[in-house]
């Protein structure tokens, strides 16, 4: 069984997923960040595969991608790093289609499987094009997770929910990553999603950065994804030479419970 499905079988609420970019701030940072997140009690991890032209991302993730590329990060290096780390929670790779195409889609999915990756999020692989590849994803037991947005029609949301595997990623506002805050998001969109009675879990993402956002996302869905907010923390850790494990545990506590129990 896919680890994402196992997770949702065990736990339907208060799912916290954290995103960071592979190869940022340092080429080997993943080896510290991933275990620190798992130990801190995060449920899901999304690892960004850096791309030179990330059109759906705001400045924070753009910058981390650029740093990662100049650090020498590539799919090849990423898979090598992942194969050398032990982890038990579901890991999802998130990134753009072109590097995957150059690696070869089937090759990519095989490497995912070998590296214990459970899913993918590929923003510029639209549903119509994904469907051409769907069989290859399923055959390799890699869940491709699809996005919905406040401008998606009910019909479109239903179609995407049907084809998304593991969960459905609900982008909170019509925006690039990191650009607007979740607590301003339009609740009529959340109500609309709720009224559709979708069978698949909904995880909210984009603009979530604090405990209040997390609580709200958990009220309306199964949980939330934090991206830009966590990347900013990593930059802070790096620039002040702080301890990854402790600082990340503290961050996760503050998101989940609203206060740090570390101090």
């Amino acid at each position: 069984m896919n680890r994402i499905d196992l997770l949702f079988k065990r736990k339907q609420n208060d799912i916290l997923s954290v995103y960071f970019t592979a190869g940022h701030p340092e080429i080997n940072s993943l080896a510290e960040i991933l275990p620190a997140l798992e130990n801190a009690g995060v449920d899901l991890i999304e690892i960004g595969m850096p791309f030179s032209d990330p059109i759906a991302d705001g400045p924070v993730i753009q910058k981390s991608s650029q740093t990662a590329i100049s650090n020498g990060m590539s799919l090849k290096v990423l898979f090598e790093q992942l194969r050398n780390i032990e982890f038990n929670i579901p890991v999802i790779l998130m990134g753009y289609l072109n590097p995957i195409l150059q690696y070869g889609i089937e090759n990519f999915l095989i490497s995912c499987k070998e590296a214990n990756v459970s899913g993918t999020i590929i923003p510029d692989l639209p549903l119509s094009q994904y469907l051409i590849q769907e069989e290859t994803f399923i055959r390799n037991n890699i869940h491709n997770i699809l996005l919905i947005t406040p401008l998606s029609t009910d019909r479109r949301i239903t179609d995407l929910a049907e084809k998304s595997r593991g969960f459905l990623y609900a982008v909170a506002s019509s925006a690039t990553t990191g650009s607007s805050s979740f607590h301003n998001a339009d609740t009529s969109y959340f109500e609309r999603i709720r009224s559709l009675n979708l069978k698949i879990p909904i995880i909210f993402g984009f603009g979530i950065s604090c405990h209040a956002d997390f609580i709200k996302a958990c009220d309306w869905g199964s949980g939330a994804i934090i991206g830009s907010g966590f990347i900013k923390l990593l930059e802070h850790i790096e620039s002040r030479k702080m301890d990854y494990t402790r600082t990340i545990a503290d961050f996760v506590c503050r998101i989940k419970y609203g206060n740090s129990i570390q101090k």
Binding site: D53, I55, N98, Q102, P123, L125, P126, L151, S174, A175
Partner: protein, 397 residues
């Protein structure tokens, strides 16, 4: 005569190339355009306003000039399609006039665009002034430094010019930023893309709007040479819009050999070139499957050309397809060859070409024409914007 048309299928594919590889956030806008563009472009009210603006505002039809002294030098009959005589100095305005009208049909009040050299930015700012629309132009910070005159023109025309500091700070990054703006402001905004690039239906929209060039060539050439089509048509290719427009009515005729000219910068054997078809591989850039310059990991690389309008790392999917089909022959021309051609045209005909267009002229020297053959070169723009480069290269004597 075969039955090939330069239009994509209903999903936006020209053979293997094209499509719309866009994030879900852009889907409603792209879907709306896809559903409505043909109906708009074919509606009598659009045609009427487009045609009358092209005539009374832009100055079309642009002349087809029999260039006698250049003909003598090359050894065949050379005609120049004078797109340089358009308002704002290049073919770019054919597209922006059409697209600002499309924005009107869609009820969009805010216009965004990317620009490299500033030609498309100026052409967009111009039509926004004409229609009283808000206009935001994304331009790489490096290009802003290099193209001060066009930046000022855009500002004087009332546009807001936003410097882009991401990536390499040039055209590709400006395009990314325009796409991000569209994601963040989906409802009121129309994105006027500047070439036959981007997700479907943009390549087809821009090709259709620029096809006025080719239709005029066909008619004007027949007036001068009754019953005949030119033996060759040559156009420079950055994204490929002036070329797609000039080639459009000739794609299915065997009578005319079409030649697209890419920029080879300092030479295709160096790392400083923009000859995408020669140096690129299939992949995705700005929502389109096409040929692009990239490293082995699929990161898009920065091209180089002395001509700011030709240094795009991709190429319109229609050209990737025309190349694969062998329907157009593509070659490339270095900075040095283009500069020489610009000088020749200036001295021989009294026409200072844009650096981009000088690449098309330079291709004349690379071909072997029979003396009875006829060639039309699409002179896509004038040299005003390039005077400081020319001065730097040729000196000040």
């Amino acid at each position: 005569m075969n039955n090939i048309s330069a239009h994509p299928d209903s999903d936006g594919f020209y053979g293997d190339y094209g499509g719309a590889y866009i994030p879900e956030m852009l889907l409603p806008n792209i879907q709306e355009l896809k559903e409505k563009y043909l109906e708009i472009l074919e509606s009598p009210s659009f045609i009427k306003e487009f045609t009358s603006l092209l005539r009374d505002y832009t100055g079309r039809p642009t002349p087809l000039f029999h260039s006698k002294r250049l003909s003598q030098k090359i050894g065949c009959s050379v005609y120049l399609k004078r797109e340089d005589l358009n308002h704002t100095g290049a073919h770019k305005i054919n597209n922006t006039i059409g697209q600002v009208l499309i924005a009107g049909f869609l009820g969009k009040s805010r216009i965004i665009a990317e620009t490299g050299a500033g030609q498309h930015g100026v052409a967009t700012a111009t039509v926004c002034a004409l229609k009283g629309l808000e206009c935001i132009i994304y331009m790489g910070a490096l290009d802003i430094e290099r193209q001060a005159l066009n930046v000022y023109k855009m500002k004087m025309l009332g546009a807001k010019v936003v410097p882009v500091h991401s990536g390499n700070k040039t055209l590709k990054d400006a395009t990314n930023e325009a796409i991000r703006d569209w994601i963040n402001h989906p409802e009121e905004t129309h994105y006027i893309i500047g070439s036959v690039v981007g997700p479907h239906p943009y390549p087809d929209i821009v090709t259709r709007l620029q096809s006025v060039i080719g239709h005029e060539i066909k008619q004007q050439f027949k007036e001068k040479n009754p019953g005949k089509n030119p033996d060759y048509i040559i156009a420079c290719v950055g994204g490929g819009s002036n070329a797609a427009g000039a080639f459009y009515p000739f794609i299915s005729t065997d009578e005319t050999q079409l030649i697209g000219v890419e920029a080879a910068g300092k030479g295709n054997e160096t790392s400083m070139s923009a000859a995408t078809l020669e140096l690129g591989r299939p992949g995705i850039i700005h929502g389109s499957m096409t040929i692009l310059m990239q490293d082995q990991d699929g990161q898009i690389t920065e091209p180089y050309s002395i001509s700011a309008g030709l240094d795009y790392p991709g190429i319109g999917p229609v050209h990737a397809w025309l190349d694969a089909k062998g329907l157009v022959k593509y070659l490339s021309v270095t900075d040095e060859e283009a500069l020489q051609a610009a000088k020749d045209l200036t001295v021989l005909e009294g026409i200072i070409p844009a650096l981009e267009s000088a690449h098309a002229i330079a291709a004349l020297y690379k071909m072997n024409f029979r003396s009875d053959e006829t060639v039309v070169v699409n002179l896509s723009g004038r040299g005003d914007k390039d005077m400081s480069t020319y001065k730097k290269e040729f000196g000040d004597e």
